[in-house]
């Protein structure tokens, strides 16, 4: 067991290095815009651009730049400085992490609280009107583009521009430590918008899993034993149905922590996702590198946790 864990950890580190290398390959070798020219400004002379290219270390071969980057990362946990404004990338990411975590955690709670009960209820009464409506609604939830949903939410419920002045508008995010009430108010709309697609999907998945589990023999046995239906469903059926759900939820959280770009954009939440996107647009190479790395880190950690948990639960999985 311990060997398994150690092996997975080692592999996780290797993956991070590989992801870094790939990022370097994609973004440094073929940067869309020229960072040195962007930094140098509009009327800069070619000579100045070359100076800046040299100052940024961009005239070195890619593998050398990569090595320098990994060295800084490994030894000093230094993610470099943003080409845009010279601030340390690490500082920028950490400054934005709380916002992304707030968004992800809240959305997670919302989509689980909505998706699972809806899925369970649908599974209990399959093919009924309620089931069809719920599943239809779920499909609509999956189909709606997040950004559009966000705009609709703002135009309906934002305290400044909405038809009903209920929740915080775009850009109203404040950190939890600063103003808990404002924090909640600013995040309610983003939570629900981000959760919409996930809740829909999870509802469908719960329904599917639970229906399948309900067809298993041991459920029939439980019923035959005379257990009340509710106990059958909740004690026996749900547990089996929810295990894979929890797995996926873990993975989804990992993905979201890398930053929900679209939601963060429409609601102007200063999170890591927006930062990642902006850095790509501006060819801010160190920032791109840092944000991709962080995104991958969260995904890999989530995978790791899930894998290890599975290894505990199911010995056949270890290989």
């Amino acid at each position: 067991m311990a060997r398994y864990i150690v092996r997975r950890l080692a592999w996780a580190v290797v993956m991070l290095v590989v992801v870094s290398a790939l990022t370097f390959l994609i973004f440094y070798t073929f940067p869309s815009a020229d960072p040195a020219a962007l930094r140098a400004g509009r009327q800069a002379t070619p000579q100045l651009i070359e100076q800046i290219r040299h100052a940024l270390g961009l005239d070195k071969p890619v593998y050398e730049q990569f090595f320098i980057y990994m060295k800084n990362l490994g030894l000093h946990f230094d993610l470099g400085y943003s080409y845009q404004n010279n601030v340390p990338v690490r500082q920028e990411i950490f400054a934005r992490l709380p916002a992304t975590i707030s968004l992800t955690a809240g959305a997670f709670v919302v989509w689980m609280l909505i998706g699972i009960p809806v899925g369970v209820l649908s599974a209990i009464r399959p093919r009924s009107v309620g089931d069809r409506v719920a599943m239809g609604g779920a499909l609509v939830g999956i189909s709606a583009p997040v950004y559009w949903l966000g705009l609709v939410a703002l135009f309906l419920f934002a305290s400044d521009i909405g038809k009903v002045h209920l929740f915080g508008g775009a850009g109203s995010y404040v950190p939890l430590t600063q103003d808990p009430g404002g924090w909640v108010k600013s995040l309610i709309l983003p939570w629900f918008v981000l959760a919409a697609a996930f809740a829909a999907f999870y509802a469908r998945m719960v329904r599917g899993n639970l229906i399948e589990v309900m067809g298993e023999d041991y459920i029939r046995t439980a019923r035959a034993k005379g257990l009340p239906e509710r106990r059958v469903i909740l004690r026996h059926g749900l547990r089996a149905a929810l295990t894979p759900i929890v797995t996926i939820a873990g993975l989804d959280i990992g993905i979201l922590l890398g930053g929900a770009v679209l939601t963060e954009t429409v609601f102007n939440i200063p999170g890591v996702g927006r930062f990642a996107y902006d850095s790509i647009v501006n060819s801010d190479l160190p920032a791109i590198q840092g944000t991709v790395l962080f995104g991958a880190l969260f995904i890999i950690v989530a995978n790791l946790i899930v894998d290890i948990a599975y290894a505990f639960l199911d010995p056949r999985v270890r290989y």
């Binding site: 140098a40 651009i49 400044d160 521009i161 850009g171 200063p270 060819s283």
Partner: protein, 594 residues
């Protein structure tokens, strides 16, 4: 998310036209005269001191360091916190002495410019001391070093005696900037430079304390910007050590201005009513931004104009339209044709393009007449007698068509003259590189559809705005046949600033080139060199007017709009003139909370 990728910052610094700022300007579709109403903005003499102002923007400043700032949005912060030698009052395009005590004196031969600076101006904490002429000298010098890399010192201060010819890695010492005493600066130029005085209004002349800044400027890439001190009425909030990072400057999120305790109202013409100003960034959706301003949760748009659909609602409302102002940006947008590659190396083919383009449809992609007057040459109406009248004014249009919708028949006749028998192009496919988001992408589509009318199949490569510039259109080697999303705003209010970098053959560089048509006509280049040396304004403007005409006739770039920029104020603030010289940007030092 159309503004997410398009850099909604303007193209270069804006200096705009005189007198057309306040009130609503709905330029008539049939262009024929100046249809603006030159009412002035609400008087601010009754305004109260105190309160907080919020400015919304989509993007961040390009550089927080005043010695590097280049775009109009950045200037909203720079001119509120720094005092260059000259600055601009909101409703004027002529520079006014700010740090300078009076306007600079130019010697008869134009090679010596003398400026006296005011007494009693001090730096903000932690420097605190009085400003001297040496601080201005250092500010200009640092712009030359590669660690600061100011974008325009080479163009306007490169003629100083002792200015470095190669880019130094450290801050050079320029002998041509002399400081005989604490309050006097003497500039020695190698040749007379007509626009030198105008250039003294650029933020690079805002004083920087050398003893404080040197340690930041000596790094490979200076981070003085994160530790800057202020001389203006406001400062970016800093900690005790002077660092603004994470305090008043949160990159991509917020810039927080507070009062500069060492600024004295007696030395300045800026009223500075508000106590605090917040520049909130990251507002990508222009409709949301506009509605937030209308609802009062924010006060003015920093870099994102209200979209056409919102402008329509606002102009229809009697209350809201009083909060909306249109300001000419002073520049134009144009379609650049690569004159180095066939078929646009032939003037007749270019003229055919100039005739076939439907400039009215192109203007509609940006909101129609409310976006501005259709351009027929490069010096815009705001330059009135400073080149606009001299280049023919509104009536000069060498490629006329009814309603500016394009003239396919005449275009075809020019194609025939160029050797295409049916008036239709028969060569291989051509390429254009365009923005991948509206409205730039829409403009590019219209261009492609128009060129198809003369048989040109145009392939569109869609990339981000900065890629379009830094990888394609600014690099002659990679430049496509057509660059449809280019334009230029002048650095300050001189026609040279509109035409020189963009059409002078000697300014073609192999990277970061702004002469997109790669125009290199020796006679035009010579005229430009002559005009640059002219000290007499009248002669200078007449010369540049003629140069503008000549450039337009080459059809190497086809201008299509003289843009005006909408500025929307909330009802909780007064509505002073948006900055004329900065293309409609709000001047926060003149805004007050009602």
């Amino acid at each position: 998310m159309n503004s997410l990728l398009t850099s909604s910052r303007r193209l270069a610094k804006g200096v705009a036209a005189a007198g057309i700022a306040a009130g609503i300007v709905l330029v008539a579709a049939a262009c024929g005269g100046d249809s603006s109403s030159p009412a002035s903005g609400a008087t601010t003499s009754s305004a109260k001191k105190g309160g907080t102002i919020t400015v919304l923007s989509a993007g961040d400043v390009d550089h927080i360091d005043p010695g590097q700032a280049y775009y109009s949005f950045s200037y909203e912060i720079t001119y509120a916190t720094q005092r260059p030698l000259l600055a601009y009052k909101p409703d004027s395009v002529e520079p006014t002495p700010d740090l300078a005590a009076s306007m600079p004196k130019v010697s008869k031969d134009g090679k010596t410019v003398t400026v006296h600076i005011r007494k009693g101006v001090r730096f903000s904490p932690p420097v605190n001391r009085a400003v001297t002429s040496k601080d201005v000298k250092y500010a200009i010098e640092r712009g030359f070093s590669s660690s600061v890399a100011n974008g325009y010192v080479a163009a306007y201060f490169g003629d100083l005696v002792g200015a470095p010819t190669k880019v130094p890695t450290h801050v050079p010492s320029i002998s041509g900037i002399q400081t005989p005493n604490k309050t006097t600066l003497v500039f020695k130029l190698k040749h007379p430079e007509g626009v030198f005085v105008g250039a003294l209004g650029l933020p690079t002349t805002a004083p920087v304390p050398a003893e404080y800044a040197r340690k930041y400027d000596s790094k490979t890439l200076s981070d003085y910007g994160l530790h800057q001190v202020a001389t203006g009425p406001y400062m970016i909030k800093a900690n005790a050590a002077g660092s603004i990072n994470g305090v008043g400057y949160q990159p991509g999120k917020l810039i927080h201005l507070v009062r500069n305790p060492n600024w004295s109202a007696k030395t300045s013409w800026r009223p500075a009513y508000a106590d605090q100003i917040f520049f909130k960034e990251g507002f990508q959706d222009p409709t949301v931004t506009t509605r937030q301003i209308l609802s009062g949760s924010a006060d003015v748009n920093g870099d994102t104009p209200p979209p056409p659909a919102e402008l329509r609602t606002i102009t229809a409302s009697s209350t809201q339209k009083k909060q909306l102002f249109f300001t000419p940006t002073g520049g134009s947008r144009y379609i650049a044709l690569n004159t180095r590659k066939a078929p646009f190396n032939k003037v007749d083919v270019r003229k055919a393009v100039a005739y076939v383009l439907d400039r009215n449809a192109m203007r509609l992609t940006r909101g129609g007449p409310i976006d501005g007057h259709i351009a027929t040459h490069f010096i815009d109406p705001g330059f009135k007698d400073k080149g606009f009248a001299q280049s023919g004014g509104y009536s000069f249009d060498p490629f006329p068509s009814k309603g500016f919708a394009g003239d396919v028949a005449t275009a075809k006749s020019y194609m025939r003259k160029a050797g295409y028998p049916n008036g239709m192009y028969t060569g291989p496919q051509l390429t254009e590189v365009a923005d991948n988001t509206p409205p730039g992408s829409n403009t590019a589509e219209v261009v492609a559809a128009d060129l198809a009318k003369i048989g040109i199949r145009l392939k569109t490569i869609s990339v981000t705005h900065s890629t379009m510039y830094t990888r394609f259109c600014n690099v002659p080697k990679n430049e496509p046949n057509v660059c449809p999303n280019v334009g230029w705003l002048p650095d300050f209010h001189e026609p040279q600033a509109v035409l020189d970098v963009t059409f002078n053959g000697k300014n073609i560089t192999n990277v970061n080139n702004s002469n997109w048509p790669l125009l290199n006509v020796p006679s035009i280049n010579k005229e430009m060199s002559k005009a640059e040396r002219m000290l007499d304004p009248k002669a200078r403007y007449a010369a540049w007017g003629k140069i503008d005409e000549q450039i337009v006739r080459t059809a190497s770039a086809i201008p299509w709009i003289w843009e005006q920029y909408p500025t929307l104020f909330s009802s909780r603030v007064t509505t002073p003139s948006p900055e004329l010289w900065n293309g409609g940007a709000p001047d926060v030092t003149f805004m007050a909370v009602k």
